[in-house]
């Protein structure tokens, strides 16, 4: 099976029912995408498929064949994406385990809505759980990322 991950075509031999999450983590060694629930309940496994946020635990590799998959490793070079810069600036992370998924969800939101309202932020991020409770800083960082991205245009 052929996949396009982070701009590279990759050939994998995966069982047909194997979620993309485990293809990424266990077959391609891209461990930045995390397992948290396996049921699309927590968002830790969020990646982009053709630019949209998708829970990689709940799609198979076959589902994304022919589409562009982007993981946290491929979001930017050296963490320079505005969302990653804002995350560092606001000091969002605590344990950090959910943050790949949070960042991918936020990046997808900003790609669609460059200046999201508070309600739009809450809606876009409702599928991403953070047990460390960094929500308030995530909100602030999304607002900051929108500024950083805007400043670049």
């Amino acid at each position: 099976m052929k996949l396009n991950v982070n701009g590279r075509d990759r050939a994998v031999e995966a069982p047909g029912d194997m979620p993309l999450l485990w293809v990424l983590r266990d077959l391609l060694g891209l461990t930045g995408t995390k397992y948290g629930c396996g049921e699309s309940l927590c968002g830790a496994c969020t990646v982009h498929v053709d630019g949209k946020a998708v829970r990689s635990c709940s799609v198979t590799a076959a589902d994304v064949a022919g589409k562009r998959v982007t993981t946290i490793e491929g979001l930017s070079r050296g963490g320079r994406h505005p969302v990653q810069r804002a995350w560092a600036e606001v000091d969002v992370v605590q344990c950090g385990y959910c943050q790949s998924g949070q960042i991918m969800a936020a990046a997808a939101l900003l790609a669609e809505r460059p200046r999201p309202s508070e309600a739009e932020i809450d809606t876009a991020m409702k599928g991403n759980i953070c047990r460390c409770g960094t929500y308030e800083r995530i909100r602030a960082a999304i607002v900051r990322a929108a500024e950083l991205a805007g400043g670049r245009r």
């Binding site: 069982p15 060694g29 396996g38 560092a88 992370v93 344990c95 950090g96 809450d122 047990r131």
Partner: protein, 721 residues
């Protein structure tokens, strides 16, 4: 940290180490491996590379609480390091890295900062002295003529970098005595510093236990007992072995492990596996019945915890008497990263990679299982994807199991837990019931207080029969001293549910019971809840400082926004005092917490922004428990399994949190846990102010509680029925 938690950690490695050494050059293979290529090993905690990069080996586990940054701050302050050149990694498990006070290596009880404050500053000061000595020898000048600044030793107009001095400094004997800086000269301690682990955590490079990859590694999931205490009668491995990628099926003490090429095959193998269990008495466990039994027990006195005067007599004489039962359920910790450990066994040496809070205990348990000495078990600490106490396993449960899986399968294996395994796997915050009785005088002041606590002990009770963890926040309850007659007793029944420390431990239930009941007394006395507390806290400057700041910053006493009400709670444990005011409304059938004002006095705040982050974190963690968290057992089976049934707070429901750190040089306390206890009672008290309903059971159920007898006034107290 309670005595019992400390006692556990102290004995885990075979006895409390009373003294500790620091600043000693590292010796031994394990330690040499810890050193990076080309960098000079100054002491157990510090390497300096020729380019000046300072690598600090952090002996505490980074689980989100910011300990990497805090530890680096302590060392860098005394070292006069260039902060931008500071890097951190986890130290290996070794005697040199035992906690500065406990004597074993581990992290918990909110005490890393407190326990390491002096020792790690000395580590930095010792290293600085060695660098200065090296420069003095090089330049042939007296050390007194040298100063240090931002990673350089300076002599007049000349300076030399620490990187250039490191190799020579590492060959010197550390000085026997160093003088620490006066706090007036601190440049780093007391300033907010961004987290040093941010860059790797925002790029996905950070390695958690689940991300560890070792050549030839297989992945296992374990079919564990469907009810606590059940044992494997027999199992059929064939259906599992038919799944492509499944390599082995092996029995271990906790169940049957399916070992495969990758997680998905192991997962599917476990689905196919057929295990016949001998369920045993655990199949009768039922949390509703257990809670009823605990409530009944609370009517009888337990073992004496603390008493003064004759509470029974004072209660019977008091003109007014109040009685209430508070109840909290079993709770899973549910850290974002499910448990895991990777184990490689090669002859007389084993290696473990895991995110753990208790390195010494895990190392001791693994060495016992394998018949090795602890130093033959190399333990690599990865980042912890949350923990909240779950990875401070009293019996090293998940690490021991992973060792058993690797041994039984004869392979290098990463044992992974699923979310369902995590939620159903026990080691919960125990179910607790508090029965509270108070007698008030004619003016509403408490004359008598009787409290009977019922709950499973997290550690075996001490000599006095009391599990210290069960009475956190009770033995130091500041109100009791102001109540002439009081008596607190404890029942510690044995129940076959494995229980463990959960962020803020006993304070999770004692704060809810005490701070809610105090609000009931204030309402009965028709006195403002803040004022009622102030009277009982007379003379306790730290509590009063927190209370006064809280009243000022929260707008207490002023009208809250339309449709909302405020509730207040204050609690002390972990040597910190935290007060919170929650602003709450009801939207349909939903409790909405809009805003939380939080005040902490933790003495010196080493990293104020880190303290603020921990307050936010503790509040959200406590709100998840207050609004949603409950593990139900029916027929011994845990009813919840994932984040659908075991709900936790999400962003849209998260309140705005404003934290104020009281400027204080009182005894230094912790910050990782004490943000959690006050939030549940603060919300309960706000709901009472809003609705007149007193909700005494967690999680809150708006359908329960006492009916209001008259319309409540928002932001004010009302008389209890």
């Amino acid at each position: 940290m309670s005595l019992s938690r400390r006692a556990f950690l102290g004995t885990a490695a075979g006895g409390l180490v009373l003294g500790f050494s620091f600043g000693l050059p590292l010796r031994g293979r394990q330690v040499a491996e810890a050193a990076g290529g080309g960098a000079a090993v100054i002491n157990a905690f510090l390497r300096i590379a020729p380019d000046g990069t300072m690598t600090i080996l952090c002996n505490h586990s980074e689980m989100g609480q910011g300990v990497w940054t805090m530890v680096a701050m302590l060392i860098a302050e005394e070292l006069d390091a260039d902060w931008s050149a500071v890097r951190v990694e986890h130290a290996p498990a070794a005697a040199a890295y035992a906690d500065g006070v406990w004597g074993t290596q581990g992290t918990g009880g909110s005490f890393s900062t407190v326990n390491e404050f002096d020792r790690l500053r000395r580590v930095g000061a010792t290293a600085r002295a060695m660098l200065v000595e090296a420069a003095a020898r090089k330049w042939k000048v007296a050390v007194e003529q040298l100063r240090t600044r931002d990673g350089f030793v300076v002599h007049g107009e000349v300076r030399i970098s620490y990187g250039a001095l490191a190799a020579a400094a590492a060959r010197l004997a550390p000085p026997a005595h160093v003088t620490l800086k006066d706090s007036r000269h601190w440049k780093i301690i007391g300033t907010s510093r961004r987290r040093l682990d941010s860059p790797e955590k925002v790029t996905g490079r950070a390695i958690f236990g689940a991300d560890v990859r070792v050549p030839g590694m297989l992945t296992a999931v374990v079919a564990r007992a469907p009810v606590f205490g059940a044992r494997v009668k027999s199992f059929r491995a064939d259906p599992a072995l038919k799944i492509p990628g499944v390599r082995k099926v092996v029995q271990v003490p906790t169940g049957v492990a399916v070992v495969a090429d990758h997680f998905w095959a192991a997962h599917n193998g476990r689905e196919a596996l057929q295990v016949d269990w001998d369920l045993g008495p655990g199949a009768a466990l039922d949390t509703d019945r257990l809670a009823a039994d605990f409530r009944e027990r609370s009517a009888r006195p337990g073992r004496l915890v603390v008493a003064h005067g004759d509470a029974a007599a004072a209660l019977s004489r008091a003109p007014r008497k109040l009685e209430a039962i508070y109840e909290v359920p079993y709770l899973a910790h549910a850290p974002m990263e499910p448990l895991n450990a990777t184990v490689r066994i090669r002859g007389r040496r084993a290696e473990i990679w895991t995110g753990t809070q208790s390195q010494s205990a895990d190392q001791a348990a693994a060495s016992k299982i394998l018949g090795l000495r602890p130093d033959q078990v190399v333990l690599h600490t990865t980042f912890l994807g949350g923990s909240f106490g779950r990875r401070a396993s009293a019996n090293a449960d998940f690490v021991s199991e992973a060792v058993e899986v690797a041994r039984a399968s004869g392979a290098t294996v990463k044992t992974m837990w699923t979310r369902e395994d995590d939620i159903r796997g026990g080691w919960y915050r125990p179910l607790f019931v508090h029965r509270l009785e108070a007698g008030l005088d004619a003016a509403g002041a408490p004359l008598a207080w009787r409290q009977t606590i019922v709950g499973q002990p997290t550690t075996p009770p001490g000599k006095n029969g009391i599990d210290e963890d069960s009475v956190h926040g009770v033995t130091n309850c500041p109100y009791l001293a102001a109540i002439p007659a009081h008596r607190v007793t404890l029942h510690s029944p044995s129940v076959g549910v494995p229980v463990l420390w959960w962020r803020s431990v006993g304070s999770t239930h004692s704060a809810f019971a005490i701070e809610s009941f105090l609000d009931e007394l204030a309402a009965a006395a028709r006195i403002d809840p803040a004022e009622y507390r102030r009277r009982l806290l007379a003379g306790l400057t730290r509590h009063l400082r927190v209370l006064d700041t809280l009243v000022e910053k929260s707008g207490w006493g002023r009208r809250p926004p339309q449709g909302t009400a405020r509730g207040l709670a204050i609690h002390s444990w972990f040597d910190s005092t935290v007060g919170q005011v929650a602003e709450v409304s009801i939207e349909g059938t939903r409790i909405k917490v809009h805003r939380v004002t939080c005040v902490i006095d933790c003495g010196l705040a080493v990293n104020p922004d880190g303290v603020a982050a921990q307050m936010q974190s503790g509040i959200i963690y406590g709100l998840s428990a207050a609004l949603y968290g409950k593990i139900n057992l029916k027929g011994g089976r845990v009813q919840e399994s994932n984040f659908d049934g075991y709900r936790v707070m999400r962003m849209a429901d998260a309140p705005r949190v404003e934290t104020f750190i009281v400027p204080s040089r009182d005894k230094m306390g912790g910050a990782g846990e004490p943000g959690t206890p006050p939030i549940a009672p603060a919300v309960a008290n706000a709901l009472f102010a809003l609705t007149g309903r007193r909700l005494r059971t967690l999680p809150f159920d708006l359908g329960a509680g006492t009916a209001p007898s008259r319309p409540p006034r928002a932001g004010a107290e009302r008389v209890k029925d």
